[in-house]
């Protein structure tokens, strides 16, 4: 689909908050939290599309939260409202959300891995799930992101440098160890591994969202594989969200 940028917000940290709509005015397709889209950044010199998680979706809009790190995401900084992007999706399997009302779910985001957890938090709160978010960053995150989460659920911030919230890793946060029914994590691999290990040791089940390097996003090229209990599987198709017990970590 061709999506038009309705708004491009340059957050103080340098992250981009993109709000897109269908260029032809049609409705945004249904999407599940944890799914992703492939974005063609034609103004960059890269060949392949970039997989980007869904920050939020409404009937008319798709929102993406992007940390400009590589050539394609940096090129996105030059896009303005009115510009269009090629977008394929939604793709992949998202987070579990069929929890009973009143169950306790912890969402843990590291860095820009926080992005898909907003849409998931909205979904869980809608279902009456007691939802709490722990957001780990190297340094203080953008207030706009915190405010957004705070509108729907409880959010705790952890920073490596102590510039905001709790000074330390997400797994060291006092709330991390509190009893939960399920935990869903998206962030750097070492962080996800630490969360998984800790949760498993306490018998808590959960999921992580991976970001292995992809070419097609459709399960055709077999480049983004992760070793699982079922052997090598495509993160783009069987994931990006995997249950803890599917991984060989």
């Amino acid at each position: 689909m061709i999506l038009r940028l309705e708004r491009v917000e340059h957050l103080p940290s340098g992250w981009l908050w993109l709000i897109l709509s269908q260029a032809d005015g049609s409705l945004m397709p249904m999407m599940n939290p944890g799914q992703f889209v492939e974005v063609g950044v034609d103004r960059s010199e890269v060949l392949l599309n970039r997989p980007i998680s869904i920050y939020n979706r409404t009937d008319r809009t798709l929102e993406l939260l992007v940390a400009p790190i590589g050539r394609a995401t940096k090129a996105l900084r030059d896009y303005e409202a009115g510009d269009t992007l090629r977008v394929i999706g939604p793709l992949g399997q998202g987070f579990r959300s069929d929890f009973a009302p009143g169950s306790k779910v912890l969402l843990v985001g590291g860095g820009v891995g926080i992005a898909p957890l907003y849409y998931q938090a909205c979904e869980l709160v809608k279902k009456g799930v007691e939802t709490e978010v722990i957001f780990g960053m190297r340094t203080a995150p953008d207030q706009a992101i915190i405010d957004r989460f705070a509108e729907v659920c409880d959010i705790k911030v952890c920073t490596d440098d102590g510039s905001a919230g709790f000074h330390g890793l997400v797994t060291a946060h006092p709330d991390f160890g509190k009893a939960k029914d399920y935990i869903q994590v998206c962030g750097p691999k070492p962080m996800m591994k630490a969360c998984l290990k800790d949760a498993v040791s306490r018998g808590t089940e959960g999921e992580v969202s991976l970001e292995n390097m992809m070419a097609c996003g459709l399960g055709a090229c077999l480049c983004c594989v992760e070793k699982t209990v079922k052997g090598n599987v495509c993160v783009c198709k069987e994931g990006p969200v995997f249950k803890f017990d599917q991984l060989t970590w």
Binding site: G40, E45, V46, L47, L48, N49, R86, I88, N212, M213, M214, A215, C216, G217, L218, G219, A220, C221, L222, C223, C224, V225, E226, K227, G231, N232
Partner: protein, 301 residues
């Protein structure tokens, strides 16, 4: 009305646009985006006698106007293809082609023999050029005698159209092409990926788990067009051209260089509808230039 049809010997295709093995899954991965029936044909992922897990991650690195991969022939094996995949693609109006790979001649033969039982399967593409597995066929594809031996052996058990996919990682692709023609190939497809390598200097590590891998995408296209041109002028069997085709103009380059059909590979990753757009672009080109039969342009260079 423009006639886009083409023939690889006795194999009739409604248009010359196929998909390249390993870039199109089993076709069904793309059925949300395109009507498979609209293609000339599609070559499914490399199939081996036994299931293979492929190489370790990372298997892909993006390079200037191209990508390196070292997937390593991950596939469910020929029995999985026959039982679980074939029923869903066998009635396609376009021609499904199975890419057959192996490590030993006996494996190529056993795999082809099994596929020969599928009566509706009109063609196989013999992969004697995979750079990503030890003895992944490239061992056969890099010498004339190796190529001749494996093609002759498969020729004995495969009764229908036999395409042989050639490696560019050789001294003379023309000599290899002549050998496989002599061994009974019905057509040749070229080029497979170019052996390449990329290094992450910050981490001081190779980008791929296997260190080297196959380069594809627009970066390889001029090499591929040159090789197709050389081979098309040297052999009597049809040539299927591939390597970095992104649009109709790229496809036309291969056709003018002598290709009777083309395969689209890496471009499928960027735009899942690219094959359909290429077919439409070929039609539009012919209309613009007053060409009634696309294949009249074949080999004009």
């Amino acid at each position: 009305m423009v006639d886009l049809s083409t023939k690889l010997k006795d194999l009739e295709l409604q248009n010359p646009v196929l998909t390249a093995s390993g870039t199109f899954g089993f076709g069904t991965e793309y059925s949300d985006f395109i009507d498979l029936d609209s293609l000339g044909g599609f070559v499914v992922k490399g199939t081996t006698l036994e299931a293979r897990q492929g190489n370790d991650y990372p298997r892909m690195a993006e390079t200037p106007m191209g990508m390196l991969n070292c997937v390593g022939l991950q596939n469910g094996g020929v029995e999985h293809f026959i039982e679980d995949i074939w029923p869903s693609i066998k009635d396609c109006k376009s021609v499904p082609v199975v890419n057959v790979s192996g490590a030993r001649i006996e494996d190529y033969v056993a795999c082809s023999e099994r596929l020969a039982e599928l009566e509706g399967l009109k063609a196989i593409e013999l992969n004697i050029s995979c750079p990503n597995v030890k003895q992944g066929g490239m061992a056969f594809g890099t010498t004339c005698s190796g190529a001749h031996d494996v093609v002759s052996a498969v020729r004995n058990v495969w009764p229908r159209h036999l395409i042989v996919k050639l490696s560019p990682n050789v001294t003379s692709i023309v000599e290899i092409a002549k050998s496989v023609e002599d061994a009974g190939a019905d057509s040749v497809s070229l080029i497979n990926t170019l052996l390449g390598m990329a290094i992450d200097v910050e981490r001081r590590r190779p980008m791929l788990s296997t260190i080297t891998g196959g380069l594809s995408g627009p970066a390889v296209k001029p090499v591929a067009v040159r090789m197709v041109w050389q081979v098309a002028h040297a052999v009597g069997i049809p040539v299927v051209g591939l390597g970095g085709i992104m649009n109709a103009n790229d496809a036309l380059e291969f056709i003018m260089a002598g290709a009777s059909a083309i395969e689209v590979g890496t471009a499928n990753f960027i735009n899942p509808r690219v094959t359909i757009e290429i077919i439409e672009g070929l039609k539009a080109y012919c209309e613009r230039h007053g060409v009634t039969r696309l294949m009249d342009l074949r080999g004009i260079i």
